[in-house]
């Protein structure tokens, strides 16, 4: 009973809270005031419902505390609810504009990517080739089943006393089981443009660009622990390097690709050097400032950068024959896939190397690190430079792909999104970054159908992920060093 009263009070609180903004709509231009009392009702009921779900969830949690895996519930919430909702939507006539009641529900359920699929195409029948991308990405059930098979096969590194590794961790640590899956993903990725529409290929290229950006920032922030809010600056440097070199000197994509990387790295060093002394959030604001400075220069230095009107007609990567836009995008897709694999490879190697360890240690305790003989300056600069390299690289790709760039693409919001990709996905984890980009770039893109509520849901989703999985969707996994005495002895000799 007390629970019910509490729930009612909470609902009332929200009714109160949303009263001026949701209920009264003033139009000071015409002095019109519209009262929308129904909104209060929706909010009240919506919040009640939410609390109901919340309590149910809590109840479930306590029911099977011992043998429960937290992920199960998380996946239920993330997968089943949207599916239920979807069923509900599917039974309605979706042509009509959204009913306010829908809106409340929209607030509640964020990952609605399937909605788009059912709603948007005017009259397209579902076709078989739409499925691979669906099967590929919402992995819950399939992956579960798959790993149920492999559970025992792979050796599970369990550290006594550490929290039970989550499903994702088990999954990722289970290398043996992962290998065929990786292969499958790779094959699917290679075939992907052949199976789907132009649009899907196009957004996949963007998706991969964001992954690489995320991986780059992941070096700086996830590995070395340096909070960088101006990462997009390096991206801009790469993009403008290609745009300008191409525009003025006609240099081709392939020449500028390494130039972009080097420029990115150099800028990383330039930024890194003066700010090394700063810690934590001070670093954040300075990097934010740096990002803004770069953007402002791009905007204001018209004679050099063409200012806000940007640079158009940038060449796409050359190919033996002329390509149509679709083919060029497909070509771009494969180039980007290659670069992505390269990035993953290099970042993995770095992470598990001497310098990767130094970064991690630096993140945890700078003073102890120095006392152990690690050169703070060099190590941090290396992180800045190596992170920026990738941003410079994909900057070039970006310019070549859109064929037009202007400073609009390099605002603070972009930096924030990259940061969110890293943190939402799980700091320091490569699959994490991919997951982060998936939920923050690809899913909103797929959600285009629900236009108006997209950003609202996006914000709510970010909050929800953090509240329910503060460490990110995929926790970082670290190489476990095994000591093999026999081998070591021979290595010594």
């Amino acid at each position: 009973m007390r629970e019910v009263i509490r729930a009612l009070l909470v609902s009332l609180w929200f009714v109160f809270l949303t009263f001026p903004i949701l209920v009264i709509k003033v139009d000071t231009i015409n002095d019109i005031i519209v009262w929308r009392w129904m909104n209060s009702l929706y909010i009240g009921l919506g919040v009640l419902l939410l609390q109901g779900i919340w309590h149910a969830w809590r109840h479930l949690r306590t029911l099977r505390k011992e043998d429960r895996e937290r992920d199960t519930i998380a996946w239920i919430v993330l997968v089943c609810l949207p599916v239920l909702w979807l069923a509900w939507v599917a039974t309605r006539n979706t042509q009509k504009p959204l009913h306010p009641a829908d809106r409340v529900l929209m607030l509640l359920v964020a990952p609605l990517w399937l909605v788009d699929y059912l709603r948007s195409p005017a009259k397209r029948e579902p076709q078989w080739h739409d499925w691979p991308c669906m099967i590929l990405f919402p992995p819950s059930l399939l992956v579960r089943g798959y790993f149920a098979l492999f559970r025992k096969g792979g050796e599970k590194v369990s550290i006594p006393g550490v929290e039970q590794p989550s499903l994702m961790q088990v999954m990722l640590e289970n290398q043996k089981a992962m290998r065929p899956l990786y292969l499958l993903i790779l094959i699917l990725a290679a075939c992907y443009p052949q199976m789907v529409e132009f649009y899907q290929t196009n957004i996949m290229v963007n998706f991969m660009i964001w992954i690489v950006l995320g991986l780059g920032l992941n070096i700086v922030i996830g590995l070395a622990g340096l909070l960088d809010l101006g990462f997009v600056a390096f991206y801009a440097v790469g993009a403008y390097a290609y745009a300008l070199l191409n525009h003025h000197f006609g240099l081709s994509f392939w020449y500028v690709l390494p130039i972009g990387m080097v420029l990115g790295a150099v800028c990383g060093l330039l930024l890194g050097y003066p700010v090394l002394r700063l810690r934590g959030d001070y670093l954040a604001i300075v990097t934010l400032g740096f990002g803004e400075i770069i953007r402002l220069v791009l905007e204001n230095w018209s004679s050099f950068t063409h200012g806000p009107s940007g640079i158009s007609n940038i060449d796409r990567p050359p190919f033996v024959t002329d390509l149509s836009i679709m083919q060029a995008t497909e070509y771009m897709y494969y180039i980007m896939l290659g670069l992505l694999l390269l990035t993953i490879f290099v970042v993995t190697r770095l992470k598990n190397s001497r310098i990767g360890r130094a970064w991690l240690a630096l993140k945890e305790d700078e003073i102890a690190c120095q006392a152990m003989g690690i050169d703070k300056t060099k190590t941090k600069l290396a992180a800045f430079a190596l992170g920026a390299t990738w941003a410079g690289l994909v900057g070039v790709v970006f310019a070549a792909k859109t064929t037009f760039i202007n400073p609009m693409s390099f605002t603070l919001m972009e930096s924030i999104i990259i940061l969110s990709i890293v943190v939402v996905g799980g700091m320091g984890s490569i699959p994490g970054v991919i997951t982060g980009a998936l939920v923050l770039i690809l899913v909103p893109e797929w959600l285009r159908g629900v236009e108006e509520y997209r950003m609202l849901a996006f914000g709510a989703f970010m909050v929800m992920v953090m509240v329910f999985r503060p460490q990110g969707l995929v926790s970082a996994r670290r190489k476990v060093y095994q000591y093999d005495k026999a081998k070591a002895v021979s290595a010594h000799e």
Binding site: P20, D31, Y282, S420, A460, M466
Partner: protein
């Protein structure tokens, strides 16, 4: 000389605006080490609440000054309520989470609140009635400071002094300082940490609301995006002054305001932000903890 003075007062106004918003940042940061990205949105919501109340009262034919006070009061109440709720939903569950998680949560909240207002109200700019009366004695000074600017400068100064005293001398202020230093230990000396944090959010949000209404009434228009840039600038000001320090926020805001005003006046407004950020970098290089920030070097 006149030109200099004009720029000086322009910078002073701008700086006061930054400072007023920066206070909320600094308080929240001081206590839970969180860059509260949603603070700019709270400020925006304050302004919207003020606008809505002013609109409703305007049609009822209230006197101007009456509207100002009621609008301010309502803005303060609702902003505080939003601040409180946001903290409970998005930050409280993350007390022991990795350091960046609440930051992302704050960014999510910021995006959410922006779009919430966008959808519930409108995407267009709405004119904001001028609520501050034009004081007669200000006439001759008009080219330096207008009345609404005076209001902003005055209330910033007032709030800043008040807040400094509050933190220094009241029990709640004492509890805030302790909580900021070490949350576990604060609990162990009997401080109600949750309440203190809530109170911080409530106070910070209330200040933002005051700023929102005054500034909106000064500028004369608002839209849902109105908090974002101001928020970033205010955050910069807070860091410049030494984050966590109330006088620092004030000082940082003023320095930022003056830099921008003089950069515009004597160089070019094209690069005003470049100057602002370059100054920030410079100052932080020489004083990594901000102008009035406490040296946080730890003993080993």
């Amino acid at each position: 000389m006149d030109y200099f003075l004009e720029l000086f007062f322009g910078g002073l106004t701008r700086g006061s605006i930054y400072a007023l918003i920066a206070l909320g940042y600094t308080m929240v940061y001081g206590i839970i080490e969180l860059i509260n990205f949603a603070h700019g949105e709270i400020y925006m919501i304050g302004a919207f609440t003020g606008l809505i109340v002013a609109g409703v009262l305007g049609t009822l034919g209230f006197p101007m000054l009456g509207i100002l006070f009621v609008a301010l009061a309502c803005a303060v109440i609702w902003s505080a309520a939003y601040g409180y709720t946001v903290e409970k939903i998005a930050y409280k569950p993350l007390r022991n989470a990795p350091r960046l998680s609440p930051l992302i949560s704050a960014i999510g909240m910021s995006i959410f609140l922006q779009n919430y207002v966008l959808l519930a109200q409108t995407s267009d700019f709405l004119p904001f009635p001028q609520l501050t009366p034009d004081l007669a004695f200000m006439g001759p000074l008009k080219s330096f400071v207008s009345t609404s600017e005076l209001f902003i400068i005055g209330s910033t100064a007032l709030v800043c002094v008040g807040l400094t005293l509050f933190i220094k001398y009241t029990r709640m202020g004492k509890a805030m300082r302790a909580t900021a230093q070490n949350r576990k230990m604060a609990m162990l000396v009997g401080i109600k940490v949750d309440k203190v944090i809530s109170a911080t959010f409530v106070i910070g949000s209330a200040l933002a609301a005051v700023g929102g209404v005054l500034i909106a009434s000064h500028i004369g228009q608002i839209n849902f995006y109105f908090g974002f840039i101001a928020g970033v600038k205010a955050f910069t000001a807070a860091v410049l002054g030494g984050i966590g320090s109330v006088p620092g926020a004030m000082l940082g805001g003023l320095i930022l305001g003056w830099t921008e005003a003089f950069a515009t006046g004597y160089v070019s407004s094209d690069y005003e932000d470049v100057f602002a950020f370059a100054l920030l970098v410079l100052i932080l290089i020489f004083r990594p903890e901000g102008i009035l920030g406490k040296d946080s070097t730890q003993k080993v």
